[in-house]
């Protein structure tokens, strides 16, 4: 339910939740209530007035709801059978239960017991609306060791610096670095650490399943003010203007590339062939990708990259000569 949206039924849902919200708290501040419902205080006052004005004309005229909001505090003194919220709908119960069960799958980060209890209580309260949620599930990638996640969570909680041995597959390098953790993300089924990398002096995203070794240091984390968390809504990997544009043609068995990497453009060439273009600051991983694809992928441009790949393949084949 989008509380701000303009339809009459959206507002009705809000009004039906507003009365029990106040009743269950006896007295509650206008400002706090407006924040919870995602509306302005003046919109809230309009809502309260509408509730107060409800009048039934028959058999005898009467006003079922009595309330006041003087001095910035709301009180409902009479609420005529509206003092409980409406049951959870199937979508609502499912959205919450699916998310809770997903959290329960995360190793080492959350209070599993609290999750179990919450799921049980919500299932009981939702009744039949909870049933369908069993047909939806989220399976997290379990390759990130639980102890790595637990140590990252511990460093976040205690605001400690981490030392990481981190594998960078694009360059086939094991790197050593200190990092000040900012947050742990669970995204696209994987766990990531977002941190201020002291080696790069920039915000970096580390996939936890690529952490080769981790140590919580006895030093406070110092995340500088200029460290900007990524805006996750625009995707994990953002191309920037300085990036190289790479164009690859893919045959049937190489089509997974278009699903796996964020491509700027995908053109269907027919007969199962695709042409994708993507941007990257570092083309070393594209050379590896091209070797892996063999005849199922062909880098079209830049041409220097294509010749590098050819040289890479020749050098590798020379080992078998």
């Amino acid at each position: 339910m989008s509380t701000r949206a303009g339809t009459a039924t959206d507002r009705l849902q809000r009004l039906l939740a507003l009365v029990p919200y106040v009743v269950s708290r006896r007295v509650v501040g206008l400002a706090e209530t407006a924040t919870t419902f995602g509306i302005t205080e003046s919109e809230l006052v309009d809502d309260l007035n509408m509730l107060w004005c409800v009048e039934l004309r028959a058999p005898d005229p009467y006003c079922p709801i009595d309330l006041s909001y003087e001095g910035g505090e709301i009180m409902v003194s009479q609420a005529e059978s509206m003092d409980r919220p409406l049951r959870l709908g199937t979508d609502e119960a499912s959205a919450l239960l699916i998310a809770l069960r997903m959290l329960a799958e995360l190793p080492g980060t959350q209070d599993r017991s609290a999750l179990r209890r919450t799921i049980a209580k919500l299932e009981a309260a939702a009744g039949t609306a909870a049933a369908v949620s069993a047909q939806v599930a989220v399976q997290m990638d379990g390759r990130a060791p639980a102890d790595v996640q637990a140590l990252v969570a511990d460093a976040l909680r205690r605001r400690r610096r981490l030392h990481l041995s981190y594998y960078v597959p694009g360059r086939d390098e094991a790197t050593e670095r200190d990092a000040d953790p900012m947050r742990m993300l669970m995204l696209e089924g994987r766990a990531y650490l977002e941190a201020w990398c002291r080696r790069a002096e920039a915000v970096r995203l580390f996939r936890l399943d690529r952490v080769l070794g981790i140590e919580v240091l006895d030093l406070p984390a110092q995340v500088p003010d200029e460290a900007e968390p990524r805006d996750l809504d625009s995707g994990l990997f953002r191309p920037s203007v300085g990036d190289v544009q790479v164009v690859i043609e893919l045959a049937g068995a190489g089509r997974w590339v278009a699903e796996y990497y964020p491509c700027e453009e995908t053109v269907d060439l027919g007969e199962g062939r695709l042409r994708v273009s993507l941007r990257t600051p570092d083309t070393r991983w594209v050379r590896r990708l091209a070797l892996r694809l063999g005849e199922d992928g062909r880098v079209i441009s830049p041409s220097e990259l294509a010749s590098q790949i050819c040289a890479d393949a020749s050098a590798a084949l020379a080992q078998y000569a």
């Binding site: 708290r25 509408m50 609502e92 499912s94 998310a99 080992q319």
Partner: protein, 318 residues
């Protein structure tokens, strides 16, 4: 938006909730302000209002108060309407707040927020902020998620175009969907494939074009033994046979391969190289992976793996 309409619907809900008896349409028109004078116009508006209330999940019941009643009436049973009592401890409220944020911009984000609001209206103080620095997210970038979720929810059969791996043209599939599963960040739908006559798994990102309902709600029956979780796990998991490769890997390279190594020691007679034994499951996949390391890795054994790597590398020569 219509203030009058909200007022009328609100009054209608309060009126029906506070009545223990079924109220006839005429009684409702008399009690609830805002309906038109003529009975036909009232009836039309009342029908639409009833539909809208049911859309919101408000359990509008029809019935008669006694056998003598000739006309059916309406009421909302409080028991069917009200969210049952639910109390959460502070740690439970905290995980609920975290769960409500998981969907963010995704398909069920609005539903999660609406559900949380109802629970807060029941007196639960679920904070939006919880354990610092942990942000789990569930995304539904695939356009097919919305219709397939509704199909699973309402038990409706669907049809869609599907681009299977290794096929050049998308094919039309007819499915009785049983469930949707996100595995490692990708969404899948599991169900009974009507054309193949058996259980199938489809990846949502390979669905092309719209997903269309091909039957009414309730038409799909999920068999008692169906396990959608296991179906996706099986579909995705590697064959169980474990094979061993003997590789020569340049010093300081091939870390990804070394992580699966059972032994790793300097290679005799090859300065600057290590001899590594590692396990793998699928020759094709592993050969692709090894090829990506280029001149830093040489396969010594088994022969089919070695040949597959050479073939990959030749393919990359262009």
């Amino acid at each position: 938006m219509s203030k009058q309409k909200t007022e009328r619907l609100l009054s209608l809900v309060v009126c029906l909730l506070s009545s223990r008896r079924y109220l006839t349409a005429a009684q409702i028109r008399d009690a609830v302000p805002g309906y038109p004078e003529t009975f036909d116009a009232f009836k039309r508006m009342f029908e639409r209002d009833k539909d809208e209330l049911r859309e919101l999940g408000i359990p509008l019941e029809t019935g008669i108060n006694s056998a003598a009643d000739e006309e059916v009436g309406y009421r909302i049973s409080r028991q069917a309407y009200e969210l049952p009592e639910i109390r959460l401890e502070p740690d439970e409220a905290a995980v609920l707040g975290l769960a409500a944020r998981v969907w963010q911009q995704a398909e069920l984000a609005g539903a999660a927020a609406g559900g949380l609001l109802k629970l807060r209206a029941a007196g639960i103080d679920a904070e939006e902020t919880t354990q610092p620095g942990i942000e789990p997210r569930l995304q539904t970038d695939e356009a097919a998620f919305g219709p397939l979720w509704r199909a699973v929810r309402d038990r409706r059969p669907v049809t869609f175009g599907y681009q299977a791996a290794g096929r050049s043209e998308p094919q039309r599939r007819n499915l009785e969907p049983w469930g949707v599963v996100n595995r490692h960040g990708r969404w899948y739908v599991v169900g009974h494939d009507r054309d193949r006559g058996e259980q199938r798994v489809f990846r949502l990102s390979r669905i092309e074009g719209p997903v269309t309902f091909t039957g009414p709600a309730g038409r799909v029956t999920v068999p008692a033994g169906a396990d959608v979780h296991q179906a996706v796990r099986d579909w995705d998991s590697a064959p169980p046979a474990l094979l061993t490769a003997v590789l020569r890997i340049r010093h300081g390279a091939g870390h990804g391969l070394r992580r699966r190594a059972s032994s790793d020691s300097p290679a005799r007679g090859h300065d600057g190289w290590d001899l590594v034994e590692a396990s793998f499951r699928d020759v094709g996949w592993y050969a692709d992976y090894i090829a990506s390391f280029g001149a830093d890795v040489v396969v010594l054994d088994p022969v089919d793996l070695r040949d597959a790597v050479i073939s990959r590398l030749k393919g990359a020569l262009g």
